[in-house]
């Protein structure tokens, strides 16, 4: 199959930041490459400067899910290009590099430098962060998102995926803005803001204060957002959020996604992506009519 001109062996990607192929190769060795779980590999989000991430604890388990407060630890752009990229280039699937900038200038540098590397098939813009220029979360605001995409679009010929945040009033409007500014694809959902308290008292459990909720708990929320965004744009959508089975993945495809991504479920089983791909294949026989009769329809006003 094809995603923005990149040939993929199937529709299953990983969610950025939920699978470190380099570390996994240390744990599993080359059998990981022979039985690679995904049809494209998305890197953990990198930033311009190195970051050590948030203080521990970084994890909290919730009913059918978890909260993470990792804080984007990474080597920074130069470290990534020098150390990680050559190793990621050995993976048997196309590489998507996820980048986040705290200003449009930062984002521009990241996209330009990453996009210049031939190992990189696509770039994903993680816009779930505050823009230091405006104080707004880029991806929560259609205009901010459009400005960011607009700025980086001329700097690379690589397909640009914009990863939307679910912590927004109207993700479909943000998706339309990204499409209008030249995004080639959208991915969603990122984690939902969440929090846990230390059971011993005294304040938040997570070193970072709040965190992001992922896993099956958020699947129904993700499916609604994917459906609503897909109905509102013409570019392909990569759907994710709590996918744990081929049946779940089929739901996201039926809701309008072109591809799916597996995140938290990989923590429970490193081969989850492969299993889900296989389950999808066996479901494909029993073809389901698409759930969305047509794109570009606007949601009717509904009250719950």
């Amino acid at each position: 199959m094809d995603l923005c001109g990149v040939e993929l062996g199937g529709p299953v990607l990983n969610g950025s930041g939920t699978f470190d192929a380099i570390a996994a190769r240390r744990a599993f060795g080359d059998p990981l490459l022979e039985r690679f779980p995904f049809h494209a590999f998305v890197s953990k989000t990198i930033t311009l400067e190195p970051r050590q991430g948030n203080p521990p604890p970084r994890l909290w388990e919730t009913p059918a899910g978890m909260i993470n407060s990792i804080g984007l630890p990474n080597r920074g752009l130069e470290g990534f290009l020098a150390h990680d990229l050559p190793e990621l280039a050995e993976l048997p699937v196309p590489l998507v590099v996820s980048v986040m900038g705290f200003s449009r200038d930062e984002l521009a540098t990241l996209v330009e430098r990453v996009g210049a590397r031939e190992e990189v098939a696509m770039i994903e813009l993680n816009v779930s962060c505050p823009n230091v220029e405006s104080g707004l979360i880029m991806g929560a605001d259609p205009a901010e998102t459009a400005l960011a995409v607009d700025r980086v679009r001329p700097l690379t010929d690589r397909p640009l995926i914009v990863k939307l945040t679910p912590n927004a009033t109207d993700p479909a409007a943000v998706g339309r803005a990204a499409e209008g500014a030249g995004a080639d694809a959208l991915s969603l959902i990122n984690t939902l803001k969440g929090m846990a308290l230390d059971p011993r008292g005294g304040g938040p459990w997570l070193g970072g204060g709040a965190g992001g909720v992922s896993g099956p708990a958020i699947r129904a929320i993700a499916l609604e957002q994917v459906s609503s965004v897909a109905r509102n744009v013409s570019i392909p959508v990569i759907g994710m959020g709590g996918i744990a089975s081929g049946h779940d993945a089929a739901d996201f495809l039926a809701a309008g996604a072109r591809c799916v991504a597996v995140g938290t479920e990989s923590f429970r089983d490193p081969a989850a992506g492969r299993r889900i791909g296989a389950e999808l294949n066996s479901l494909a026989g029993a073809a389901r009519p698409p759930a969305q009769p047509s794109r570009r329809d606007r949601d009717p006003i509904r009250v719950r």
């Binding site: 930041g17 939920t18 699978f19 470190d20 380099i22 570390a23 996994a24 240390r26 744990a27 599993f28 060795g29 059998p31 990981l32 039985r35 779980p37 953990k44 050590q52 991430g53 203080p55 521990p56 604890p57 970084r58 994890l59 388990e61 919730t62 009913p63 059918a64 899910g65 978890m66 993470n68 990792i70 630890p73 070193g207 896993g215 938290t264 990989s266 923590f267 429970r268 089983d269 490193p270 081969a271 492969r274 299993r275």
Partner: protein
């Protein structure tokens, strides 16, 4: 397998998928539970100090208790060849929903596992004798270490009370024992024994596992005496194979993911073993 610096790592690679193992027994060992399960051939042979991510093939999570959802990390306590595979033993303490469910496993059930994971104990420093120091459930990864050592090594163990001390009987060699309440062995802390042992003969490498305050006491004592020590640490883990970046431990080199760069760390890399999230 070698790490970034090219030094050999005691790490057996894991198959890159979750598999199930047949539960062959769950026994109470004082306050702890000893779970045995057959990891079917071809089963990788774990190195002492490595761990597995465990869950159950059914009934993991949900219900009125809602959790567990993620798998849980456990040191393998021992592994033995058995017909059809490798029999793995895990020693565990019921402290929450995950350990409670595992301790309630029935013999017909399947354990779900990923592993062995992480880096195990390294050899003792040249010209030192190994000294095994365990606290509570932290005795688990010392059992297979004792099995592996060529020479018999002193084993020093501390427990809350006699009810927890049954695990001491699993060691082949002689065990120095303390309990907090004096109900078995000598009243006091295991670091009392360690101090005496190092007074007697300081040429030792300490291999320690236990609760964070104990590990911190061991670290501080060894640092003071210039005795090399390896500490098997714990921190909350979601994946066990470096995917989530959740299990970090602050070290002199910055945050390390305990699941891929540990769980056994050289004590010299730590400023403290008492960091936020330690032991979870």
């Amino acid at each position: 397998m070698s790490n970034a610096a090219g030094v050999a790592e005691p790490r057996t690679l894991a198959p890159p998928e979750r598999r199930t193992a047949a539960v062959s027994g769950v026994a109470a060992l004082g306050a702890y539970a000893l779970i045995r399960a057959l990891d079917r051939d071809p089963a990788p042979a774990p190195r002492p100090g490595q761990f597995y991510m465990l869950s159950t093939a059914s009934g993991w999570g949900g219900g009125h208790g809602e959790r567990p959802y993620l798998p849980r990390a456990f040191s393998h306590a021992r592994s033995e060849n058995a017909p059809g595979g490798l029999e793995l033993s895990f020693l565990l303490e019921d402290v929450g929903p995950g350990t409670a469910r595992l301790a309630a496993l029935g013999e017909a059930e399947e354990l779900a596992l990923v592993g062995p994971l992480g880096i195990g104990w390294r050899p003792a420093a040249p010209d030192t004798r190994p000294l095994l120091v365990g606290g509570g459930i932290g005795t688990a990864p010392l059992l297979c270490l004792e099995d592996e050592l060529a020479t018999t090594a002193p084993v020093l163990l501390g427990f809350r009370s006699a009810a927890h001390a049954d695990a001491a009987g699993l060691f082949a060699g002689e065990v120095g024992l303390t309990t907090d309440d004096g109900s078995a062995g000598r009243p006091g802390l295991v670091t009392d024994l360690l101090r005496e042992e190092l007074d007697r003969d300081p040429a030792a490498t300490v291999f320690a596992c236990g609760p964070p305050p104990m590990l911190e006491a061991v670290r501080a004592l060894c640092a003071e005496r210039g005795v090399p020590a390896q500490l098997a640490l714990e921190s909350g883990m979601a994946c066990g194979f470096g995917a989530c970046y959740g299990c970090v431990v602050p070290t002199r080199d910055g945050y390390l993911r305990l699941c891929v760069d540990g769980p056994v760390l050289d004590a010299a890399r730590l400023d403290t073993a008492l960091f936020p999230g330690a032991g979870h």
